[in-house]
């Protein structure tokens, strides 16, 4: 477990996840207070990734439950294995008649069968689904309930027991208590407001788009080959793009994709043509791309001012990269 907030930052950093103090504080508190964390924020800012790296940093197994509309308890909690139960009944038929051999009355026979109830309703016939699996696991686990907003409101009710008491009740058997309390992360894209009951049980973390400095650090960690100049220019454009009124605002994952794409094209600095040709890596809607094209002049112009302020070294590889870029994209 984590010793302090700084420790969280450092250990997540080792997993190449750069986070600010806000995120680190919440992760630290979650591990100390043993409370689930509800992570909200726009798509692509690293909500799911956070859960993964915390699992890696703490050496826990990651158990992931992907939510979708129509997800029910049979898929999330546990399911009885009917066919196996049937099979066992068939095979054990003879044994059953042995058990009932001495019975004289119907009531007596029924009582005897009833006394063997626990054979058929035992954990032998339960198929554990992610929630139950994380509770009963012998190893400490990290449970990731991804995109919980996509699930139905009724599903939240199943979650409550797991989240507040770390236990799962199976009516026929009883209650499974957690052997090791899992760390729980829930992520949400805010498609639906979660119920107050659920929120009350969780710590809340809102991850927003990072500021330029943090984004640069993330970029340099995740895409090591990217030169400092390219990184700065790229992030400048991204930060300005986010200020436009776009249908889907590009987030960190798009920044990283773009950087990788530019690296593949051997680019060391951005120019208008290059941006124009690679915009489809970061913008996913036709309308957005058009809008960005219209604003392209402004994005580049702003950059030119920066350049005027500090004369940069002439990019050696840029001209050579131009033909390759055309080939790669069309």
């Amino acid at each position: 477990m984590f010793a302090s907030v700084e420790d969280v930052q450092e250990r997540l950093g080792k997993q190449s996840y750069i986070c600010d103090k806000n995120i680190a504080t919440v992760v630290f508190l979650a591990s100390r207070l043993e409370k689930p964390v509800l992570v909200e924020g726009p798509a692509g800012v690293g909500k799911t990734e956070l859960a993964k790296v915390v699992a890696a940093a703490t050496g826990r197994n990651l158990i992931r439950l992907q939510c979708y509309e129509g997800l029910d308890e049979a898929k999330a909690l546990y399911e009885w294995e009917y066919s196996k139960q049937l099979l066992y009944t068939q095979i054990l038929k003879e044994k059953l008649s042995e058990v009932m051999a001495g019975a004289t009355t119907l009531r007596d026979a029924a009582d005897r069968v009833a006394s063997e109830d626990s054979v058929f309703f035992s954990s032998r016939f339960i198929v554990p689904r992610p929630l139950l699996r994380s509770i009963t696991s012998d190893e400490p686990t990290l449970l990731l309930i991804d995109e919980v907003d996509k699930s139905d409101p009724e599903f939240e009710a199943f979650l409550l027991e797991v989240l507040s008491d770390f236990q799962v009740s199976v009516p026929e058997i009883g209650t499974f208590d957690a052997k090791n309390k899992p760390i729980v992360f829930l992520t949400s894209n805010d498609a639906r407001e979660m119920s107050d009951a659920l929120k009350r049980r969780c710590l809340h973390l809102y991850i927003d788009f990072p500021n330029a400095e943090l984004e640069q650090r993330i970029l340099e960690t995740k895409v090591p080959g990217v030169g400092q100049r390219l990184a700065e220019e790229l992030i400048g454009v991204m930060q300005r793009l986010r200020k436009l009124d776009l249908k889907k605002t590009p987030s960190i994952s798009e920044t990283l994709d773009w950087a990788r794409a530019l690296l593949a094209l051997n680019a060391t600095s951005l120019d208008e043509g290059l941006v124009r040709d690679t915009l489809n890596v970061i913008l996913k809607y036709e309308g957005d791309i058009k809008k960005a094209h219209a604003e392209l002049g402004r994005l580049i112009a702003r950059k030119a001012e920066d350049e005027a302020a500090k004369p940069a070294a002439a990019p050696g590889a840029a001209p050579a990269a131009a033909p390759a870029k055309k080939g790669a994209l069309h």
């Binding site: 907030v5 103090k21 806000n22 504080t25 919440v26 630290f28 508190l29 100390r32 207070l33 409370k35 509800l38 909200e40 509309e69 009917y82 066919s83 049937l86 139905d152 409101p153 805010d190 498609a191 639906r192 407001e193 107050d196 929120k199 009350r200 969780c202 710590l203 809340h204 973390l205 809102y206 249908k247 309308g287």
Partner: protein
């Protein structure tokens, strides 16, 4: 600290952030784990345990700064300045305090009895001072402050409540006693001056505190006012800024309705037994039907035809209605939209090509298909629709008319609407005027009313969301 945190919780609640008791307890537990010394961490710990909605974060940040830092920082500033300014800026505060200490020991008899406030002032115990001011302010009822004019009054009452004058008197007495005990004049004078300056700083701080209290109350009031009123505010009179905010609200409302609809639809789905699928699904159980499968009854999504009046008198209303409807696009099978003033033109393609808000701007401008600078003529528009576009309607189509039915005394040609009504599933008319005005002046709403299944007043978002709910079911 405990009391302070509970006060802060109350403040959050007053500002519309919902904080439960359990969450307050979490906050306490969290503060045990982290060092309070680090401001950022402290703030994050409070936020993560108490604020669970993205929308509330702004309010929290504002209140946090107001509550936790602004006052203490102000207090420190005031007293630092007071100490610096004393003795023409050449006063050695530490030396003076040491001498006072020595003087006090030499004092004949028992040391004079100082009130808590006097002690706190003399030793510059700022956190004690803060606590004293808070308590006094509470007793003086500063929480009830309502406007700027009361700041002076409550400041005075708070000062009286903690007996600032008494503390001042005690400190002056102390200085005199020290002089009698043989302390050099220069230092006694310095002490006297310092006491006056401290009292001044105290008055300033209390005033600051009162003003801040007023700000806190106002913040909550203004926020609430803004949210409430946007829902209620008539579309007719919106400023540019409000239009922008309105767009967000519209999107959120549309989002919510979509959610409600998806739940309702699911409930509707159960139908007849589906033998085929059930047998196959239950093969694993030896053909014994453990799981019962029903045929899903298909619920048709309605088709929608929108006839939208874009004359300048209703342009704002039309804007939001269109936006709302298009946010809900996936609830409909097909939408065709027409705009009219006098002529009628189809703008469906516009909505396909452009992004919603741009398309709406363009549509309200006539969308290059009609002339918007004429006088409204509903009769002409309906006739146009009946003659050229009646094929757009079938028995699954809902026709939605947005307009005020102010016909400028033209022929209403209500029979056109009757024909439309006969062919369509239903006709819905949203009118920004209230029903009492329908049929008066040049309004021909009464002529159209018999051929309209649902006619509703729709002037603000709350009414709009209620109607759209009806529309899609």
């Amino acid at each position: 600290m405990q009391q302070k945190l509970i006060d802060f919780t109350n403040l959050l609640r007053k500002s519309g952030v919902r904080v439960s008791v359990a969450e307050t307890l979490d906050a306490f537990a969290a503060l045990d784990e982290v060092s309070i010394g680090d401001r950022e961490v402290f703030k994050d710990a409070l936020r993560t345990t108490m604020v669970k909605r993205g929308d509330d974060i702004a309010a929290f940040e504002h209140l946090f700064d107001l509550y936790w830092s602004a006052f203490y920082d102000g207090l420190r500033d005031a007293f630092d300045k007071a100490a610096e300014g004393a003795g023409g800026g050449k006063l050695d505060l530490e030396a003076l305090m040491r001498q006072i200490q020595e003087g006090l020991e030499k004092l004949p008899g028992a040391a004079p009895d100082l009130s808590e406030l006097a002690k706190a002032l003399l030793t510059q115990d700022l956190s004690k001072l803060e606590q004293l001011i808070r308590e006094a302010a509470q007793q003086a009822g500063v929480g009830r402050i309502e406007n700027m004019l009361q700041v002076g009054f409550f400041t005075r009452r708070t000062m009286e409540q903690m007996d600032a004058e008494g503390a001042g008197r005690q400190l002056r007495d102390l200085a005199r006693q020290l002089r009698d005990a043989g302390m050099p004049d220069a230092q006694v004078d310095a002490l006297m001056e310092l006491v006056e300056r401290y009292l001044d700083a105290l008055r300033q701080s209390v005033r600051q505190f009162t003003e801040r209290e007023l700000q806190q109350r106002n913040y909550d009031y203004m926020e609430k006012f803004r949210r409430e009123s946007l829902l209620e505010k008539s579309f007719y009179n919106l400023t540019e800024d409000e239009i922008r905010m309105m767009r967000e609200v519209v999107t959120r409302l549309a989002h919510r309705i979509k959610n409600i609809l998806s739940i309702r639809k699911r409930r509707l789905r159960k139908g007849k037994l589906d033998l085929h699928t059930m047998l196959r699904r239950n093969m694993a159980h030896g053909g014994v039907p453990f799981e019962v499968i029903y045929k899903h009854r298909k619920k048709d999504r309605p088709k929608l035809v929108i006839l939208c009046d874009v004359s300048s008198s209703v342009a704002n209303v039309s804007r939001f209605m269109l936006q709302f409807v298009y946010q809900l696009q996936e609830c409909f099978n097909k939408i065709r939209s027409y705009v009219f003033v006098s002529e009628l033109g189809e703008v469906t393609q516009l909505f396909k090509d452009l992004e919603v808000s741009q398309a709406i701007d363009k549509a309200l401008d006539g969308g290059d298909v009609i002339n918007v600078y004429t006088r409204s003529n509903f009769g002409h528009a309906f006739h146009d629709f009946w003659r050229n576009h009646l094929a757009a309607i079938d028995n699954k189509t809902t026709v939605l008319v947005l307009g005020d039915a102010r016909n400028n005394y033209n022929d209403p040609r209500a029979w056109c609407l009757r024909e439309v009504h006969n062919k369509a599933k239903n006709v819905v008319w949203l009118n920004p005027e209230s029903p009492s005005a329908w049929g008066f002046g040049d309004s021909v709403m009464d002529k159209y009313r018999p051929y309209v299944d649902v006619a509703e007043e729709c002037r603000n978002l709350r009414q709009l969301s209620r109607i759209v709910d009806k529309l899609v079911l």
